[in-house]
Amino acid sequence: MNVRAHMSMLFHLDKCIGCHTCSVACKNLWTDRKGAEYMWWNNVETRPGSGYPTQWENQEHFQGGWEFKDGKLRLRLHSRAAGLLKLFFNPALPSLEDYYEPFTYRYQDLFNAPAGDDQPTAIPISMITGEPMEIKSGPNWDDDLGGSNIYARNDPNLEDVPAEVRAQLDELERVVFNYLPRICNHCLNPACVAACPSGAIYKRQEDGIVLVNENRCRAWRMCVAACPYKKVYYNWSTGKSEKCILCFPRLETGQAPACAHSCVGRIRYMGVLLYDADRLPEAAMVPDEQLVDAQRDAILDPFDPEVIAAAKANGLGDDWIRAAQLSPVYQFVKVWKLALPLHPEYRTLAMMFYIPPLSPVVSVIEDGLFRLDLSDANHDFELFHRLSAARLPVQYLANLFTAGNQEIIRQTLVKMLAVRLYMRRKTVDGEVDEKLIKLLAEAGTTPQEAEAIYQLTTQPTLEERFVLPPYHREMAVEAWKDPLAHKGEAGLGYLQVPRRGE
């Protein structure tokens, strides 16, 4: 057993209100720079929808992630030798049109326009050329357009959803969408690292954050193509690749990443997971339908004395083990089995987890009429036993979170529904009857667990949502420098301005 710690984020999709505060917080902090205007290290997509960059999940086209064939794991993008021959032109690299041309408005015109009969307008200009442009798309172009037959239809996850289910999604009365916030998944088997010919990308052993060493990046831009989530971006100005850094400077000073910290819906949780590095990459080398379980198996129980001993042998301190025990991510992922990785079939072993969304309102059209005659309670029970009637098709969610395994999605949704029913009965009706207890058991849970899930879902404190271990950076600094001297030098600007090379 080779125990390592990982900082993981968890997204409770049921709570996301699609406000994009997270994206803006990230943009203000990290990517409000020349060459990075088009980058959204954190973005929020409307699903079903085409995503950003457009149709990023279409790996036939973008060649991201790993392929498992004949017992071997291969990068879809290239073999080592083929990669070296494709440096001059990278056929799988998305072009700016797949993202969008970044734009702003010429606000000065509003102030400087000569007096006249018309209101002055601020025309859109390109942030690359500075010239007037026509805006054709943006990072969030299909926001809230679920059910649209232009955008939602383009969702690659709908491909194998049966035609009649798809047709339902287009019916006005059944239109449904949910939000999908995305950051880099800081994968355990990252394709970006494996694809970089210069070896400029690496994973930090202490917390699993995947970083680009821009001093070693030579702009071969293989990482951009190889990341199946399209979460490495190429800075067109500096000629270097960049990606989400999980706000490590904030984590190291005890603050949650800016996206999580600013989240209005409070959907995000941060915590430590312990995992067994000896099970890599084998955890990614199982058939599609077993991927979720294999990854869950690689995540270790922080209460198990053997795991604790092995963790200590690997240099993990008590404070980190304690943080792993208190981790809300561990609860949701491993104990309650409610959280899933995004697109496990890419086999990068994504380490950010999602709780799939319950469908909004349960009502179903029958014979063209809403069945408003059913009481709420019956609606709920009906759905519990007929998940196929959920407005978000189970298969669609399975394509997003379980590599097509509908059983896992069903178990997850049923458990969430059971918790919801149980708590509603308990708080609204003030009674818990036999039927309800049976229903909980059917969903594989108990009243105690249901209440714990409810508690952590709906009213966690800040400290319960973000359980951040101390990084002891002062000790790391000591290795090469007097920490006090270092303190005086940190954060006072560049030692070398990151200027574009000639």
Binding site: L87, S126, T129, R218, A219, P281, G501
Partner: protein
């Protein structure tokens, strides 16, 4: 001191020294600036035709030059049969024209793609123009002063070796037509600007990729634990 000495002895040494010292300095002290500065994100269609043609054309020709320098005998042996000589000459000329076409496309691309203007530096133009001079004089030589692969070993191999062994003998180059002299001198100019331009990307060719483990894990104090795979 005559022109010949200045251009083909003094200047090459200066250029080489600047090239080596500059590149080493830059890779140690200014590593952030070293990049191929790809502009594929902004424009890809013309780059496809331009970059692939230029790179494959020029890289194979460069390797050919290197071969003639290091293994002149193998070249002479190959050229002993006329058919093989014609084949080699024709291939070389075709590659040269291919590289030239690529360069012309790249120049056209930088001129016409508006999005590239903000990322085009003066040095980018210097490099493209010097390469144009290089390739045009090269193709010119191959066309009008046949057969290069034949006389290269008699003229340039000894000249370049004389430079490398610090016993310069510029008299090999002195009697050559000016086009060929320009071709040689232009190469030294390229060496001179090498560390100050995007050309440094050539020496960062990541051969190590063939050998390193797929995954790279780095611990706080710089300990790298390769993950087997």
């Amino acid at each position: 001191m005559n022109w010949n000495n200045l251009l083909f002895v003094i200047f090459p040494y200066i250029a080489l020294a600047v090239c080596v010292i500059g590149s080493v300095y830059r890779s140690i002290y200014r590593p952030f600036t070293i990049s191929s500065l790809s502009s594929q994100l902004l424009e890809r269609r013309k780059l496809y035709w331009g970059s692939i043609s230029l790179h494959y054309g020029i890289l194979i020709i460069l390797l050919g030059h290197l071969l003639a320098l290091l293994l002149p005998r193998s070249l002479m042996w190959w050229n002993a049969v006329p058919v093989r000589l014609y084949l080699l000459e024709f291939t070389g000329l075709a590659l040269g024209i291919w590289a030239l076409a690529g360069l012309v496309i790249l120049v056209y691309r930088r001129l016409t793609s508006r999005r590239l203007w903000p990322v085009t530096t003066r040095m980018d133009w210097v490099v493209l123009i010097l390469l144009l001079v290089s390739v045009i004089t090269g193709v010119w030589t191959a066309t009008f002063y046949r057969f290069g692969s034949y006389w290269f070993t008699a003229v340039f191999t000894p000249y370049l070796w004389s430079l490398i062994t610090l016993q310069p003998r510029p008299e090999f180059v002195a009697p050559l037509p000016w086009v060929i002299q320009l071709h040689v001198f232009n190469f030294f100019i390229l060496l001179l600007i090498f560390p100050f331009s995007r050309l440094v990307h050539i020496v960062t060719y990541p051969l190590g990729y063939l050998l390193r483990p797929w995954q790279i894990v780095v611990a706080v104090r710089g300990r790298i634990t390769p993950q087997t795979q």
